[in-house]
Amino acid sequence: MQEERSPEERLQRARQLESEIARAVIGQQQVIHEVVLALLAAGHVLVEGVPGLGKTLLVRSLAAAIQGDFSRIQFTPDLMPSDISGHIMFDMKSENFRVRKGPVFCNLLLADEINRSPAKTQSALLEAMQEQQVTIEGRTFPLTAPFLVLATQNPIEQEGTYPLPQAQLDRFLLKVFIDYPAEGDEQQMVKQITDGRVGDQLDTSTIRPLMRAEEIPQIQNHVASLKVDDEIVNYAVRLIRAARDWNGIEAGPGPRGTISLLRAARAEAFLSERDFVTPDDIKSAALPVLRHRVRLTTDLEIEGYRPEDVLKDLLDNLPAPRK
């Protein structure tokens, strides 16, 4: 029987989760915060950044901290959907068909360079993300909660890639940028990783297990039950609707964007030790939730503007809730 924890205790552990991962992944506090946010809000994360910044280490550390299963799929152009979901094979010994489950059956899945595979393969994963279940040869297998996908994209190398369509991008709760660490952090990280270590294996031995993976759904339920005033809901809706008509935005977020924004804002409030959501939570969550849900007009893109620039302008100018 699972141990029932009080909300305060859950909060404490979730906050420890952030600091615990930061012991192994150095200099990426914002990314860690946003990944934990996605975990608490039961969403998935699209990470954009150049290779070698610790994405695998991040997921491995998270898996170690919650004692969850971890899988990693390197997406390549010849990757098949069954390589992700699994397949049925004939067992010669028992003379029966046997289901061989794919790497998607885990708690934390790192989908590395997701845009290297064609849309058919991508959609196999995206279906699992949305439905939380996998169908193999007509049989449906539910995925074990929690299930978090951390998909990565390389922003520099675009040759031979299959960019995710807007509808698929919408499935990710957050889009996170992972950047080079600060000089001091990088120095500390290099020292920590190379001292007394052979090779370049990722080391997550410093991570202490804080909770069991089965406890995460309870925390997620608690987060989902946080109080949201009508004014806050109205603010989120106004924000999304304004984004659709805002100058410089060609395609704005749909209603799924509003839902995602409120989910992320709840998790943000939870991490801020509050049991209610404020406009600040909405604003904090707005950029990672919306940046992949808007498409800028061609002229702004040519001028080098990013969705964040336009969204910041929107957030600055849209009146906060009237109270």
């Binding site: 005033d229 509050r274 406009p279 100018n317 906060a320 109270k323």
Partner: protein
């Protein structure tokens, strides 16, 4: 001035052809002209670098002193046109006599004369001043329109060239080494960019100046050639020389006729320009009889019959009177329609302007103005997070009123008033740059910049209580609210509400 040595082909030219001639001269002698210009302008530039002047003023002075750099070019060309080559040393040995006369006038009230290039030869080469200068310019003035256009077009070319050079420099700088962006580089330059502006301006001026001065000089030469019949004079001189060299073979009659023709031509020129050509001295009577004699010659006595078509109006005028009323009526209708159309056009222009202004105000954030914070750009908001912050909307003593409300169990209203008054004071008395879209948390974060720890602590507590009340509907302890009201006057109470 020896017309026999002139290096350009003299013929009657239109003004635009004259400018073409000037450009050809500038192309031919460009290196010399360019060096002469730089030798004049570079010392000025270096002097401006040394002087502790604002950069914009240095740039302006460099531009304003153009009449100092141009006369040496003109002087050199005036010699070169008559096949006399002088070096840089020769030009600058005459610098005082070429540049200094009337320099003050050229740099003050005549600086912005549009026909500067055309007037300059009158001043520099003829050395005329005062009344004589004005008369001379009036005589020559036929070409001043083209000279004004030359200045107008030259300015544009100079600006285009300067911006082209500026753009080229920035485009060639690797992105990693870029210290500025395009907008700042062109319109809000830092000192480095501003020096680049001046250097490119100098380069542009140096490239345009030879063409400008040469074209002005060519216009001047062309006009003098027209007025003084230099081409005729030169042609006759050549003719005379040719005949002289032919020797005695020429018949007496033809020699006489040619001589007479030359005399008449020169006389005509003399009549046209009294005092300028004094080739032949004779009385009017003598001239008249000579002219008649010349006109009686076969060459002038030829008669030709030319046929051409001419429109002859054969319409009957009788219907004109009956139609005139209709015509005048139609004319008045057309006039009214035209006036109405003009009025509508003006209305359209006004509406368009209002729309553009409205569109700009609505989308000004896209122009990069609204996202930049700064003391100069900050405008005091009247509404933050839906709260009216105008001082006139506040009661005289907000904390007392809030306290009364709290004691009447109207905690939410009381706290709303207290929080609104707090933001109002922060905006109007502490000059805190709060934006209209700021949330409570952002307002609190901004107040950290005031660096008043006690105030920040108080605001933190007030914000937390207000947020809990507003968004979580949690009723705080009454005592806590009373304490917040009482502490409020410590930070804001002694300040005037208005």
């Amino acid at each position: 001035m020896d017309l026999d040595r002139i290096a350009i082909k003299l013929r009657p030219r239109q003004s635009w052809e004259g400018i073409d001639l000037g450009f050809t001269m500038a192309r031919e002698w460009f290196v010399n002209l360019w060096l002469i210009w730089l030798c004049s302008a570079l010392p000025v530039m270096l002097l401006l670098v040394v002087l502790p002047l604002p950069l914009w003023l240095a740039g302006f002075i460099l531009w304003w002193l153009k009449p100092v750099y141009e006369p040496p070019l003109l002087y050199w060309m005036s010699r070169r046109v008559f096949s006399e080559t002088i070096g840089l040393r020769g030009v600058f040995s005459e610098w005082r006599s070429v540049v200094l006369p009337q320099l003050f006038a050229m740099l003050s009230w005549r600086r912005l004369t549009p026909a500067r290039s055309f007037v300059m030869p009158v001043v520099v080469l003829e050395g005329l001043r005062g009344e004589r200068r004005s008369k001379r310019i009036n005589i020559l003035a036929k070409n001043s329109g083209a000279a004004s256009w030359l200045t107008f077009v030259g300015i544009h070319f100079e600006v285009i060239l300067q911006f082209g050079l500026l753009g080229l420099i920035l485009a060639l700088i690797p992105e990693d080494l870029l210290w500025t962006d395009w907008q700042s580089y062109l319109f809000d330059p830092d000192p480095v960019s501003e020096w680049l502006h001046h250097l490119t301006a100098l380069a542009a001026m140096s490239l345009i100046a030879p063409f400008y001065v040469a074209a002005g000089f060519a216009l001047y030469l062309n006009r003098r050639s027209q007025l003084e019949a230099w081409d005729l004079e030169l042609g006759l001189r050549k003719m005379a020389q040719r005949h002289k060299s032919d020797g005695a073979e020429a018949t007496r009659s033809s020699t006489l006729r040619n001589t007479v023709l030359a005399c008449v031509a020169l006389l005509l020129v003399d009549i046209a320009m009294p005092g300028t050509v004094q080739a032949v001295e004779m009385s009017h009577q003598e001239a008249r009889s000579l002219i008649q004699e010349v006109l009686a010659d076969e060459a002038f006595g030829e008669k030709r019959t030319i046929h051409y078509w001419e429109y002859v109006d054969q319409e009957d005028d009788s219907s004109e009177s009956s139609d005139s009323t209709l015509l005048s009526w139609l004319e008045s209708i057309a006039g009214s329609a035209a006036r109405l159309g003009e009025l509508l056009l003006w209305i359209l222009v006004a509406v368009l302007l209002v729309y553009l202004l409205h569109w700009y105000l609505k989308n000004r954030s896209s122009f990069g103005g609204s996202t930049v914070e700064g003391p100069g750009r900050h405008t005091t908001p009247t509404v933050v997070a839906g709260l009216d912050l105008r001082p006139e909307s506040m009661p005289d003593n907000p904390s007392v009123e809030a306290l009364e409300m709290i004691q009447q169990e109207r905690s939410r209203e009381g706290m709303a008033l207290l929080y609104r008054a707090t933001l109002s004071r922060l905006v109007h008395h502490y000059d805190l740059p709060i934006k209209a879209g700021d949330t409570e948390g952002q307002c609190l974060e901004r107040s950290r910049k005031l660096k008043i720890p006690d105030l920040f602590e108080y605001l933190g507590e007030l914000t937390a209580v207000w947020q809990r009340l507003a968004y979580a509907h949690h009723q705080p302890q009454k005592q806590q609210l009373i304490e917040l009201c009482q502490a409020w006057s410590e930070y804001f109470g002694d300040r005037d509400a208005g």
